[in-house]
């Protein structure tokens, strides 16, 4: 076997290893409405058929918003659903990636959005959120890797949805800390402080939850991407499950 043959073989192996992912990324990066893009596109996990229970009752949508393509820390959505599925009686439907304008948003009672960067919602998107929350929908927002830009944007933009309502911290007495696991406190890995979830309320009902300290990194990647910051993984998994159960029961 000469060197050319070895090179050819390596090339084939490299193409096989990277080709499908490259294709998925290409499709996801198409702007909404462009030919070949769907309002709701299967995620990477859906393509691999990771969670395919057709009698499921838990529907989760991974949100595409503003300039975000709904693929930051790509596996976190799937990881969240696996976590919920394996720990509870919830039968989980496969994750869907949804644009805010997607009609399927109103068939998906649980939305998950994450990101690193600042973003701004249009008036139309704010109106959609307003309707979605008032109809009973729920949103979990998680900043990736303890990046302060994303949580700040969430606070600002969600605070524009309902007049007089802003995103505020949820004390440990709140039911969300006892919905499944009893969580007395959540220590920060990099600061001498306790991490609190934050929430947006509509008519006294919690409709959106934010965790600024890389909750998604914590429950999906053992916090490896967060460089020792944010939520300890054991607390992260408990928090994520509690949020899902709380959304289902309140």
């Amino acid at each position: 076997m000469n060197m050319n043959t070895i090179r050819l073989l390596l090339c084939v192996l490299w193409w096989m290893a990277t080709g499908p992912r490259g294709q998925a990324q290409t499709q996801a990066q198409k702007p909404p409405g462009a030919p070949g893009s769907a309002a709701a596109t299967p995620s990477a996990s859906e393509a691999s058929g990771a969670i395919q229970d057709r009698t499921a009752t838990f529907f989760m949508g991974r949100l595409k918003y503003s300039n975000n393509n709904g693929n930051d820390c790509s596996a976190v959505g799937t990881e969240l659903m696996k976590l919920v599925s394996s720990t509870s009686t919830i039968r989980v439907q496969r994750e869907r990636t949804l644009a805010i304008q997607s009609p399927e948003l109103f068939e998906t009672p649980f939305l998950f959005m994450n990101g690193h960067d600042k973003f701004t919602l249009t008036e139309e998107e704010l109106g959609i959120f307003r309707k979605y929350f008032s109809h009973g929908g729920f949103l979990l927002a998680s900043g990736c890797c303890t990046n302060p830009a994303f949580p700040a944007a969430v606070r600002q933009e969600l605070g524009r949805i309902f007049p007089g309502e802003s995103v505020r911290a949820l004390p440990y007495e709140h039911g969300i800390y006892r919905a499944f696991h009893r969580i007395e406190s959540v220590p920060s890995l990099h600061e001498r402080k306790e991490i609190h979830l934050e929430g947006l309320f509509y008519e006294g009902r919690l409709v959106a939850v934010l965790c600024e300290d890389g909750l998604c990194c914590s429950f999906s990647m053992e916090n490896r991407c967060n460089n020792g910051k944010g939520v300890p993984p054991i607390h992260g998994r408990k928090l994520a499950l509690n949020i899902a159960i709380y959304a289902l029961t309140h």
Partner: protein
Amino acid sequence: MESTLSFDFPWVLRTGGVLAGGVLLASVLTEGRRVRGAWLRLLLVTLLRAVALGVVLFLAARPVFVAPADPPGVERKLLVLLDRSASMALEEGGQTRFEAAREFLNRELAPAARGAGIPMQEAVFAEDVQWVTAGDLARVKPEGTGTNLGGALASALPQAEAPPLAVVVLSDGVFQEGAETGRALSLLSQAGTPLVGIGFGSEAELRVLSLTQLGAPPRVGVGTSFEVSAMLEARGQGMVPPFDLSLMRNGQVIETRQLPAQVAPQTWTVNFPVSEEREGDYEYTVQLAGQASPQVRFGNQRASARVHVENSREVRVLYVQGGLTWDYKFVSIALKNDPTFKITGYTRTAAQSFFRQNVESAEELTEGFPSTPAEMAPYRVVVLSNIRPTDLTAAQQEVLARFVSERGGGVLMMGGADTFDSSWRGTRLEQLLPVLLAPTGGVMGIEKPFRMNVLPEALRRPVFAVSETRTAEEVWGALPTFLTYGRIDAGKPGAQVWAEHSEDRGPGGRRILMATQRFGAGITAVLAVQNFWRWRLAKDAEPAEYDRFWRQLFRYLASADREQVLIQCTDTELRAPMDVHVAVSGPASMTGEWAAGGRGGALRLVVEDPQGQVLLKQDLAFEVQATVQAVFRAEKAGLYRLSVRNGEGETVSLRSLDVPESHVELERTARDMGGLAQWAAVGEGFALKREDCPPAAELLRRIRESATAERRRGRERAPLELRWWMLAVAAGALSAEWLLRKRWNFS
């Protein structure tokens, strides 16, 4: 008059006598030559032999003593009973059955009887019997409310001077069983009178429209929409013409509906939505009115129900989930802003983990789903979401069934393909379902989206009136599509189907998605659509409509009677006049105040008739037994009021019973030759369809033959059995013959 001796086999006597005489003569001639002149001795011996042979022949001919036939000088008449019940007023072939029977009697049977010299006596009968002359018969109308042939025979036969030659019944054969049937059969048999039935009418059921039942919740809240439900039944074949249905409140008509023509046979319910703004007792009556015709008759046309309107009480809902679903969340949101509702959640979140929500004490539901009536007592509605019978123990299922049937609770069973499957078969929980599940189980997985079609009759119910600005048709027609559902074969008898699948069809038509039924004192319902929350979340939905639907559905399920002390009627059918049997059950838990005789002193059952007269006052001793039995006589039709009062006169429990008039005549309208044939088969009689009848003279000949055979059969017969003295005579004769032969040296 003395009985006469007769023989069953007289030929034995004749033939045997000849043979015996021949044998004896031969023996005399043979032996006469040997004894030579001792003829007198020989004759004596032969006589003794003849005595013994005579006894044997006498017994072999089966002697019987037969009572005399008729007293001398008594003339047997033909008794004709003409049915004058309401079913004889049904018209077929241009004349009513009664007219056809009367014409047959006047123009054929009576002249033929006169010609044959047979006297005739005529009577008409329905619930009683009346002797009539030919002139009276022309004025008789077929309006009787029952057909009591047994009573008519039991009354008529003893009045006759002599047993009739035969009883000829001219009827359609639709008889009701009466208390005097047995006596009538006995009288017929004793009189030796055959019954001959001539059947009039046809075998086709005629169309009869009846108001069979009126339902209304016994207690509702002020301002709460509820329904007065009239169950109607059209029997027979063909179309029932349009008719009016009027709802009256305390005697005043408040709504009249003109209902279109209906296809018979069918049973359906017409609901009148009602709401009262003031507290008090209201009596609702529904009156059925229409143009009766010979082809279409009306059965029961009126029924009443009493409703007590009071300030709303809290409706506590126990929502039990076999696994986490979104429905609980959305239902909770729907009830959130209504202070009269309280929802308590009990959800399995993992294999061994349950989540309790909104419990009122630390102990509530810690032991799992309620397994005693006391644990179930705080709730008025139980929702079983994604629960299968195997998730509950037998005791828990029994408690739930009794919660509905005895305590008047409401149960809603929700689920889809994964919930409603074959595991329900044969379980106590299955009895609560208003539907029959398909044996193949539900639809596994998401098929193509479907719509839930709410039926027009359901849309008129208050439960489905969820918008002030849009019609029910607009709201329910705009529901989003759903994805999975439980597969249902058919509704159970008496169930009301509310919604069907838009496409999928089962053995009973389109698959049922929503249905309800009364189950004892309570109400059950099923919603076989998975993920019903999709309605509220849908982009174009009005969440307020979804919320209102759930509040109204729970109010409907909670609207059944629910009393600490429960009054139940144990009779399955109420018809005046009758003895009505009542069971009064005490509270589920016999705690202090109840065990001591109830709040305010001893409890007493009071029954008032439709005019308000007290029929019964009975003290209730709950400390001895949980259920106390009582009986009162309902002489007349109407609304009877049953109440349990404490020592201070407060009404602890209230129940009204609508006892309809005994008008069972039109429940069956087809000619029943089987009924006539059964009566005829008592003796030597026979039954014939009118169209199969021979000419009257021939018919009379057959009647006479039957009468003769019946008399012969029916006369008193006493067989003369083998007695000791017969044996003694035979043995004595033979012994004497043997001794004399020896003494006189006969060989």
